[in-house]
Amino acid sequence: MNVLKLILQHRRLSAGLAIAVVTAALLQVTNTNPAVSQTLALTAYEAPSDPGVDPEAGIWKDISGVNVPLSAQAGSYVAGGSVKMVKAQALHFDGKLFVRVSWADATDDSSTTKVQDFADAVALEFPQSATAAVPSICMGQADSAVNIWQWRADSNNGVRDPNVAYTNALVDMYPSTEALFYTARAANNPFAQLDRGAVQSLYSKAFGELHTLDFQEVQGLGTRTGDGWAVVFERKFDTGRAGHALFAPSTNMDMAFAVWDGSQDERNGKKAVSQFVNLSIAAAPAVTGGGDQTRTIIFAAGLGIGLVLIGGGLAIYGYRENGD
């Protein structure tokens, strides 16, 4: 009775609420999210020609990128990594997405021949499907998996047997060198296979549940730059398979970064991570020159100061009016 009375008392509000509930249900059922991300934005412009996976390709010098802080939020991750920032750039061409990541790392850790060696690595993480809220950045969540592309410096070099890596090694003999005797390889561990490329496409929806996708379609290559690494990832927008992130022109996608520095014993959860940034796949070609954001900042600052001035004026006016 009370409820009915309340509804009758607030007829307009109740009607409005009913409309809101119906609209919300409709949005949920159709999975339409009118909200727009306002976090760090990385725009993938259309490239004039195929950029390829070469990180040194000239085209990357002409487009602007975004500097993504890693564990900028120091202390967020107890076992956090040591790399502080990555620069990300993105392009697309002929239905393929290209992401170039570069970061500073003084040591080249591209061999994992010794037990104490850990490889430098970088990973991109995408929600596997668009949901109302982005999934947990920590390896996804039960109802919202993530697709991870990981490049590793040792895979980039190719996995080699120690007797090959150590050219002066003296070995009497290996009685059998068939794949069967490379136990992990024989057990179909994707991580232990030869010639699987520098990048692995992985899938996760919980801690400790990370696994390699059966179908590998991400290409990638890394090169040492003067003071660190530059890595390019390449993949078709749509692999047509479950578990793989799906891209399309004129859409947005959440995306996160992780970087491992091998010389700091970084592997597994010991890494530097970013928050999700917003990858926007533009339909238009790149606009050269990176000044637009600076203009935005100046615009925002100007607008803010302007508002404060207007407010101040109004306030003085108001007080005077009231004081009369």
Binding site: A41, G291, G311
Partner: protein, 328 residues
């Protein structure tokens, strides 16, 4: 008192925003609790796969709360703008203007009419405008909490804007912005009790202390997850000692409870909305929560101020009606 207050049903042509803001705040709180907190920590629940069905139901519920909040945001923003505009005090024109500008920008971005950079700028401007308006009206009392929030928001937003483009800012400069945001946000949360006058609320103090201790324990016990939630839900990095966050949680809990129990529902709702919205630029959804939250806070503070003002204080001009009444 010269102030004339009408019953909620008495309004003629001026919306009473309390019920709408309250429903909005409740819906946003549910969304924050389920979608942004529970589902992101459920990964730690052992054997979560066995609880698949209840988990699904809860998550769908959280998702619905998200969409409902989304649907209520625009009407709430419009209602708050109209209420502030008709509130009879000229300072509110600034707040109204800021809110309208932001509200109008959002659909434009969805339509692709303006760039996301412009949207970010508008968002920041709206928060600055609303904050300034509150400061102008409620004065010194709100200087620390509202100033803290606005400063934290601005620093964090500038960081986001500055990260794009080559050499816009050095890593060191970006860190200064983040640390400023962090400190200002803690100042905001710790000083919110200053927003309310009057006697202490013992019950609220007890609950606040318990909440503070719980947060402290969570940060010490499972620091990684707790800090991660802090970062994702509130936009704080958790780089300061745990004590500060415990104090912040305690301060906020106290103010929200006291405001609810002491007859300042708009202040309570406003604070809940600010927490749900978080610090810095995340999405238009969270930005709108902050916008409406600040508007609700403005309205609530205005009523609180006029109530406690001596009778000689300036009376709201013109109509003399305070549509955003707090007490019947």
């Amino acid at each position: 008192m010269a102030l004339r207050i009408r019953r909620p049903g008495d309004f003629e042509g001026v919306p009473d925003i309390r019920p709408l803001v309250w429903i909005l705040a409740a819906s946003a709180a549910v969304e924050l609790a389920i979608l942004r907190t529970f589902t992101r920590t459920a990964i730690h629940i052992p054997d979560i796969e066995a609880l698949r069905t209840p988990y699904e139901i809860l998550t769908r519920g959280g998702e619905f709360a998200y969409f409902l909040t989304l649907c209520l945001l625009l009407p709430a923003a419009v209602a708050a703008a109209v209420a502030l505009q008709r509130g009879g005090h000229p300072q509110w024109r600034l707040a109204t203007f800021a809110l309208v500008v932001f509200t109008a920008t959002w659909p434009l971005v969805d339509l692709g009419a303006i760039s996301s950079g412009a949207l970010d700028a508008m968002t920041l401007a709206a928060v600055l405008g609303l904050g300034t308006a509150i400061l102008l009206v409620s004065g010194a009392r709100s200087a620390l909490p509202v100033g803290g929030f606005v400063a934290a928001y601005a620093a964090s937003a500038f960081f986001t804007l500055a990260a794009t483009g080559d050499g816009a800012m050095s890593v060191g400069q970006q860190r200064v912005l983040l640390n400023t945001a962090e400190m200002a946000a803690v100042v905001f949360a710790c000083t919110t009790p200053m927003l309310l006058n009057g006697s202490r609320d013992r019950f609220a103090i007890i609950v606040a202390v318990v909440t503070g201790l719980l947060v402290f324990g969570a940060l010490l016990g499972n620091g990684s997850t707790s800090r991660f939630l802090l970062l994702w839900n509130i936009g704080l990095s958790g780089s300061m000692p745990s004590f500060f966050y415990a104090a912040a949680a305690g301060g906020l809990t106290y103010t929200v409870l006291r405001a609810m129990r002491g007859g300042y529902p708009l202040i309570a709702a406003g604070l809940v909305l600010l927490v749900a919205g978080g610090i810095g630029l995340h999405s238009t959804y969270q930005s709108a929560l902050v916008g409406v939250g600040l508007a609700a806070l403005a309205a609530g503070l205005w009523v609180a101020r006029t109530e406690t003002a001596p009778s000689t204080a300036p009376v709201p001009a013109a109509t003399g009606a305070i549509p955003i009444t707090q007490r019947a």
